[in-house]
Structure formats: structure tokens, C-alpha cells
């Protein structure tokens, strides 16, 4: 873990929504092929930070950001950066599964189709590989033409992960990916996260402390826009450095 290269570097990042200072001087280095959990109470800035990484905040009214975020040493807020290209590199999975009302197959190839990829044999290959990586292939391989909305919640979320994987991102952002799922489906997603970190760098926002401690290598605790503590997950959950972190993770906040 020590020798892993830093893939995402955030330096002195401040974010404002109008007068509201929502992220304050955040410095965060995320190594590649790791899972980093972002935790903290609602409104602490963790989702804002997550969305900075694929520039999802750009169109929010009164959004203003300063500081530098680099991915692979490239400033992702540089004018030369194409947001569409960035989002190909940095995929996102949302809280609620959001498949399109299309077939399973069409959902997986969506990102490639809108980029004009048409070669059937290539698309077939991508569908199989992505669904396998998302641990869904065995369940749907005989019904790829079936409407994605007929799948269960857990399957839909794994389909959304497959859709993200199809465009071969380097980074996967997950915004509370299991909060709408039952425990069995959640466990499958957690297993998947564990598998995916071999090939991807994953950043996950979660309110579930046990999930953060189970799936992540590093954990960042945000509070009122401050990054209070960022450490190895084992250390943060066993022996947090800051009293605010300790009170939050032990449920003694407020």
C-alpha cells in the first residue's frame, strides 16, 4: 500500500455555493487501486468533494471552486480538459440505481453507443466483460434483451456498475451505492467493490460506518466542510487521531 502511486491529488481545495463555504482548504491524496471511503454527517461536504472529481458540480448555480485537483498529474479543472473525456476516465455510480428503460444489453453499451461505437462483436465482448466484472453475467446472460427495469434493485445497481465499467474508467465514484438496497444486495456490491479495486481506484461516500470499515483501505472524515481526518481505515476506526472523528464514528456526536 505504501508504494502505491498517488492518482488523485487535491490541494487547498475550497468550494463555495454562493456565500456558503462548503469545502475548506481540503488536501487529500488518493493512491491508485485503493478504496477510499468519505464519511461524515449530512452536509459535511463529502458528496461535494466526490462530485468535484468528475466535475459534476460545474453546472450548479453559484458554484465556485479554487485550489487544484489533479488526476495522473493533470489538473482536471484546466481549460484544456474535456469534461466528457474526464467522465470517461472517472465513472460514477449513484445512490439509487438508475438504469435506462432499455434492454440490459443497451444499458451496458450506452456509454460506447453515444460515442459512436457500433462494431457488434466489440460491443458483445464489452457487454460480457462488464457484466462479468459487475458479477451480474451469470444472472442475466440468457436475458440480455430483457428490460433492465425488470431486474431487482441490487441487480439494477450492479447493471449501473457494469455500465460504468463498459467505458473502461480508471476511477469509480460511488455515492452511497447501497443505501437503497437490502442487506444481501449490499453485501454483493461490497464484494464487488473489493474485487474491482484490483483494477480501479474507487472512492465511495457512505453513511454506513461498518461498510466504510469493511470495504475501504483509507477513510476521510469530513465535518462542516473541513477534512478533519484522513487515515488508513484500520487506524481511523481503531484509534482515531481527532476527538471529532472518534465522537462521530462511535455515534456520540451532537
Amino acid at each position: 500500500m505504501k508504494n502505491k502511486k498517488i492518482l488523485i491529488r487535491s490541494e487547498q481545495v475550497n468550494v463555495y455555493y454562493g456565500d456558503n463555504h462548503v469545502l475548506k482548504n481540503v488536501h487529500l491524496d488518493i493512491p491508485e487501486y485503493t478504496v477510499t471511503a468519505l464519511i461524515g454527517p449530512s452536509g459535511c461536504g463529502k458528496s461535494t468533494y466526490l462530485r468535484l472529481l468528475n466535475r459534476m458540480n460545474d453546472y450548479i448555480l453559484d458554484f465556485k471552486m479554487d485550489g487544484v485537483i489533479t488526476i495522473n498529474n493533470k489538473n482536471i479543472y484546466d481549460k484544456s480538459i474535456e469534461v466528457e473525456e474526464l467522465r470517461k476516465e472517472v465513472g460514477m455510480v449513484f445512490q439509487k440505481p438508475n438504469p435506462f428503460p432499455k434492454s440490459i444489453y443497451d444499458n451496458v453499451i450506452y456509454g460506447l453507443a453515444i460515442r459512436g461505437v457500433k462494431k457488434k462483436s466489440y460491443l458483445d465482448e464489452v457487454v460480457e466483460r462488464s457484466l462479468q466484472q459487475a458479477a451480474l453475467w451469470d444472472e442475466v446472460k440468457d436475458s440480455l434483451k430483457k428490460n433492465a427495469l425488470s431486474l431487482s434493485g441490487g441487480q439494477q445497481q450492479r447493471l449501473c456498475i457494469a455500465r460504468t465499467l463498459a467505458v473502461e474508467p480508471k476511477i469509480i465514484l460511488m455515492d452511497e451505492p447501497t443505501s437503497a438496497l437490502d442487506p444481501i444486495s449490499s453485501a454483493k456490491i461490497e464484494e464487488l467493490i473489493f474485487e474491482l479495486k484490483q483494477n480501479y481506484t474507487i472512492i465511495i461516500v457512505t453513511h454506513n460506518m461498518q461498510q466504510a470499515s469493511r470495504v475501504s483501505d483509507f477513510t476521510a472524515f469530513f465535518y462542516l466542510g473541513d477534512l478533519v481526518e484522513y487515515n488508513k481505515t484500520d487506524t481511523l476506526f481503531m484509534n482515531p487521531e481527532h476527538d471529532r472523528t472518534r465522537r462521530y464514528i462511535t455515534g456520540r456526536f451532537g
Binding site: Q210, S213, M238, N239, P240, I249, T250
Partner: protein
């Protein structure tokens, strides 16, 4: 009080009660070594040993339940891990006391003053009781201030044990009179030395509980 705090407090209080039972075991058994046979003390040690075993099982089960139901983290997790980890040491300390009581029943005569002096038995017992009261107080206070004394005393006990071994060999060479008694004393001293190790283990666990730093094999 939150449910988690209430449950953890209850387990901590049960552990303190068990620690106090073990303290009485150590006090009574070392007293037996000084005075020899005492029916009342022997009976009390036997009775307490059963209570200690019961406490061990109950607290162990409560710890497992607490871990499964409350999924603690940070200092809560360290506390419950510490309690679970010190149980075997407490139980073994009580076993040592029971073994000494059994010996006192079989050999009612106390050891001669010369034997006690040459082996350093008196100092060993005093150090052991001091070490133990330090760990109980540290656990109750959630403090590591007194733990350094434990590590220092443990080294002293090890040195006493080494010296006692030499002295008993010399005594055996000097005279074969009471050789069984001399060998028995060496066995008892070796048990007390081991008891010191158990107390040191408890101190290491309490250090981890309070400071979040593993002390095992590191207190040098």
C-alpha cells in the same frame, strides 16, 4: 445513556468485579505461603475460583454479544477487545492461587524463614500484589500512568526467580534435608513468576485500550 454505553459499562463493571475476586485470590494465596495451612482461606480460594470461572464465561459471552450487536469502533472496540483479551490471564491468575491453596492443604507447615529469605519469596509476593493492584487501578481509571511500574516490577520478579533457582540449587547441594520442600518452593516461585507474566499481559492490553498502541513485545 446510550444503549451501547450502558452495555459496555455493565461489562466493564463485571470485569472489575472479576478483577477484584482475582485480587483476593492472590492476597489469600500469598498469605498462605507465609502462614502455612489455613482452612478458611483455602475454602475461600476454592469457592472464589468457581466464581472466577463463572465470571470468565459470562463476560466472554457478553463481549461476543456486544461485538455482534453493537459493532463498536474506536475506544469502544478497544475496550471490549481488551476485556476479552484479559479474561484468560485473570482466569489463570486465579488458577495459580488455587494451586497454591492445594499445596498449602497438602503441606500445612509454612516455609522456614531462611528459605524465604534466601529465595526472595517475600519480595516476589509483595511485587506481584503491587503489580496486580496497579493494573486493576489502571483499568478502573482508564489511565496508563501506573503501568510503567508493572513492567519494571515484572523485570524484578524475573530477576528474583533466577536468583531463587540458584539459591535452591545451592540449598539442595548444602543439605538433602527437606529437599522435597525446597523443590516445591521452586515450583511455587516459578508459578508466581508466570503470574507476573499474566499481569504484564493485562497491563499491555490496558495500554492498548487507553492509548490505542500495541505494547506487546514493545515495552522495552
Amino acid at each position: 445513556m446510550r444503549i451501547l454505553d450502558a452495555k459496555l459499562h455493565e461489562i466493564k463493571m463485571d470485569t472489575l468485579s472479576m478483577m477484584q475476586l482475582v485480587q483476593l485470590q492472590l492476597q489469600d494465596s500469598t498469605e498462605l505461603l507465609k502462614i502455612g495451612h489455613d482452612d478458611e482461606k483455602i475454602r475461600a480460594i476454592k469457592k472464589r475460583e468457581k466464581k472466577v470461572d463463572k465470571c470468565d464465561l459470562k463476560i466472554n459471552r457478553d463481549c461476543e454479544r456486544f461485538l455482534a450487536v453493537c459493532t463498536p469502533v474506536a475506544d469502544d472496540l478497544r475496550t471490549i477487545m481488551t476485556i476479552n483479551n484479559v479474561l484468560p490471564s485473570l482466569e489463570r491468575l486465579s488458577d495459580v492461587s488455587e494451586k497454591i491453596a492445594k499445596y498449602a492443604k497438602k503441606y500445612p507447615e509454612p516455609f522456614e524463614q531462611e528459605l524465604i529469605e534466601r529465595t526472595g519469596l517475600h519480595n516476589l509476593m509483595t511485587s506481584l500484589l503491587f503489580m496486580y493492584s496497579s493494573v486493576v487501578e489502571s483499568f478502573a481509571e482508564g489511565s496508563t500512568l501506573k503501568l510503567n511500574d508493572v513492567f519494571v516490577k515484572d523485570k524484578e520478579i524475573n530477576a528474583i526467580y533466577k536468583q531463587a533457582k540458584k539459591s535452591i540449587i545451592e540449598l539442595l547441594q548444602e543439605s538433602s534435608v527437606d529437599s522435597e520442600k525446597k523443590v516445591n518452593l521452586l515450583l511455587i516461585i516459578s508459578k508466581l513468576e508466570r503470574a507476573g507474566d499474566h499481569i504484564k499481559t493485562i497491563a499491555e492490553e490496558i495500554f492498548f485500550c487507553v492509548e490505542g498502541v500495541f505494547m506487546r513485545h514493545k515495552h522495552e
